[in-house]
């Protein structure tokens, strides 16, 4: 059971799970309610969420080696043959 009103400390302890969307609905709502009331906590959470979004966006860009798909399909073929053997 999550208490209805969280302190700044209790909210801060949930920072990572909140920005990672890993809190239960009740906890999420409790944190969100605190952030509406507390500008200081809101600024930390907003900062962390923005940093996280930037990191994820940058890290999602990667070039796949050009021959990898072909080599993987060959490996699948070999694996299927091994499974049948």
């Amino acid at each position: 059971m999550v208490q209805q009103s969280l302190s700044c400390h209790e909210t801060f302890l949930r920072l990572n799970d909140y920005v990672d969307r890993e809190l239960s609905p009740a906890e999420h709502d409790a944190v969100a309610a605190h952030l509406v009331e507390c500008a200081k906590c809101a600024s930390v959470f907003e900062f962390e969420a923005d940093v996280l979004a930037d990191l994820k966006a940058k890290l999602s860009r990667i070039q796949l080696p050009p021959s990898l798909k072909e080599r993987v399909l060959e490996a699948i073929e070999r694996g299927a043959e091994a499974a049948d053997a």
């Binding site: 990672d20 969307r21 900062f47 940093v51 990191l55 994820k56 860009r61 990667i62 990898l68 694996g79």
Partner: protein, 224 residues
Amino acid sequence: MRRIWLRQADDAVTLPGMTDHPSGSGVTTEGSPAQEPATLDQLLPPLLESAYRVALRLTGNPADAEDLVQEAAFLAAKGFRTFQAGTNFKAWFFRVMTNAFYSKYRRQKRQGEHVDLDDTPEAYLYQRTMDTGLYTRTKDPVQALMTTITTDQITEALNDLPEEYRVVSSMYFEEDMAYQDIAGVLEIPVGTVRSRLHRGRKLLQRRLWDVAVEAGVINQEGRD
């Protein structure tokens, strides 16, 4: 190309993506009972970029990462009959790949490296931008900070993390996987995922701050 048929659960008509994580990442192959079951050579290619990214973090270099993805594809084909529709294909394949890594490239899962984080505060980047005045000097402190850090530098910082933090952080930051999915892939408790990610995030932020400082972030003038 030989087709490797997926064993269908009686009532399964879809191959789900990444559970119910709000990110909705992963493979979603919707179908109908009339459709042919999905094959491995249909399911795997859309995941190759993700698989290669994770393989890069596991092995630390492109050549070994390519070999690992191929080896995992071979093993997945060999054992594809054990995969059931209605479960998470991406998590299943990543589990095959991480097991392949630990059995082929490493004899044992390495014990965790000790990293002293006692003096690293939570929300490290936020704290440092506040302490240095960057937060109040700039209109958008996150942008001011992150524009000084390149993708290559982030990748390098990620690669420098101790392995137990690096693998979890890669699956989270690069693949946007839910804690539960990461736990399933690595066969560790969700609480362990949470604590490793927590420490990995601290380390990553500490290193990224150093990168930003070297790039001159704290000397930036205020921006409109």
